[in-house]
Point group: C2
Chain length 340, copies 2
């Protein structure tokens, strides 16, 4: 059954709703910025311009880990505890699987049911399609909307596929890696570079007969971490054990995150990282859109098939062909500029 | 003392010299394509267009390994053996360290002295500066020049820093990883993704008291390889031992490479990979040059500092600012186009 058609909201409706912390309006604002419709983008831009002064005040936390590491359960436990302490917690996802398979590794709307029902929490399901660049861009804007809606802890969840960890690292202040006991990181399928991004490592499922093994795994990771460069200068990344099942270590997990937050605030790393990230967001969007624009130009669309054919036959050097295509194009623009 | 000024060569001089296999002229042609001078680029382009029909006929081999793994000594041993068998061997380097530190991890002109003196070999020192994009582009063109000069085995050497392995993988038909005995791959500083690019793994320095340990390490890597996806579909990547010192395993190393070459030729993977690589080269150059061009435009240079300042103060959403900058720019161009 089709849902009844909702009344179109004005820019002010969106801005006021988000700033008032209205979860239904926040959800609609996120849907607006996620929209692929050309018609929605100018409104989305105005909404984002309207809420920007109220953003930037949360602690942004990234969490990664292989499927099965228990991310959702752990985030639910951590989030519920934080809500009980008076925090307002938003959980987002960067899920590159959704663009490849149209499925979702991180699961869909039914995940984190308890936290979803908590009035101080907001759990956003994964955006469901688009390029990694597009998904990333919308995740960043969603994060800002959540901040404007008064959420002071934002958790961005991802799974170790392709470049998603680097994307999440570039969105957050503090990056956590969730591990399991037993297998080494090769067998867990964690890329080595990911360990080097971690500000803390948590060995999950440290409960029951698994508890002793978890303590041993923790010691192993602590040894390994000595060989890796620091993810955040001056901060020693350590491994900890935690259990989403018994709740043991959840409170300590927040202590680690909060200590990191204070440490990075005090020595300026926090502000410096945020400024650097803003610049990276800026350049990433420019690069994406510049490419899109270029390949939509009539002269390029005309010349490309011929060049492709010549390359296929080995008649032109690809680097030379690229350079010439670009030069012809930009020279044409320069000429029009001078004539104009 | 300044070297005497050399006579300027014509496009024909370069093309004929390279096609005749003249090593001195090949060296000058490579210097020409490596030149940052605007004046040299059109000549370089004509030379590349002139030699393209004579390219593509070599086996392109990539070799990586941490510093100390013995890459140079092994390449010298392999290269010398191939020259004795009647092959003509060129050795190139993609050395990202040179752009960062102005030094070179792979060593300079004095490396591989014996092979350098062999009349059937050509050892090119690392290009010494430029962006990774620039270095990469010139390495690809250098490879084509070497093929045109009649070298039928091209070895591209790199070291595991940053993205250089992925760059080399994108240039070659067959990718080899050189390892040492003893330490696991974590301690050797090899990124996990690199193991997954390998068509064969060679445990070097399998000689003297180290020989037994090498055999054990080989077995360990063979076990590990079972857990990794195949670098080349249908080809089982295996580990082997080799000694550049005693020469043991050098001949078998070539057998592995040649079997791989025959396998990939027979089932079409060879041609398919080369076509895909040509397209990647093409798009990579377009992206690099498009960005360069964009940020040199007057309107962009004018607007950028203000936007940067607004972003620093948190007054604009970076993704929105980027989008708007680009839209203003491209709309301006469209308008001129309509008027022109």
């Amino acid at each position: 059954m089709e849902p009844p058609k909702r009344k179109e909201l004005t820019v002010e409706d969106y801005i006021n709703g988000v700033l008032a912390g209205d979860r239904a309006l926040l959800a609609r604002a996120i849907t607006l910025i996620e929209s692929h419709s050309e018609r929605h983008r100018p409104i989305a831009t105005e909404v984002l311009n309207g809420i920007i002064p109220q953003t930037g005040k949360s602690i942004r936390i990234g969490i990664t880990g292989v499927p099965g590491a228990g991310k959702s359960t752990l985030i639910e436990a951590l989030g519920t505890m934080l809500c009980d302490k008076g925090h307002r917690v938003a959980v987002l996802a960067v899920d590159p699987s959704s663009q490849l398979t149209k499925g979702s590794i991180l699961g869909d709307k039914t995940r984190m049911e308890e936290l979803s029902r908590n009035k101080n929490a907001y759990v956003r399901p994964s955006p469901s399609s688009g390029t990694l660049g597009g998904v990333t861009r919308r995740s960043r804007e969603t994060l800002l909307l959540c901040e404007a809606a008064g959420f002071d802890v934002i958790i961005v969840e991802t799974v170790g596929v392709g470049q998603s960890e680097a994307v999440v690292r570039s969105m957050v202040d503090c990056f956590l890696v969730l591990m399991l006991t037993g297998a080494g990181d090769e067998l867990q399928g964690i890329k080595k570079g990911v360990m080097e991004m971690a500000d803390a490592i948590f060995i999950n499922k440290a409960d029951g007969p698994n508890r002793q093994v978890a303590l041993k795994t923790k010691a192993e990771y602590n040894r390994l971490l000595h060989f890796l460069p620091q993810a955040t200068e001056g901060w020693e990344t350590k491994a900890y054990t935690v259990s989403a099942l018994t709740g043991e270590g959840i409170s300590e997990m927040w202590d680690v995150i909060y200590s990191f937050f204070q440490f990075s605030k005090e020595n300026g790393i926090f502000e410096e990282r945020r400024e650097k990230q803003a610049l990276e967001w800026f350049y990433a969007v420019i690069e994406d859109e510049l490419k899109l624009w270029f390949f939509q130009q009539d002269d390029i669309k005309q010349q490309l098939p011929l060049l492709m054919e010549q390359m296929r036959k080995g008649e032109v050097v690809p680097t030379v062909a690229a350079s010439q295509l670009l030069t012809t194009f930009t020279n044409g623009l320069e000429k029009r500029k001078e004539e104009g």
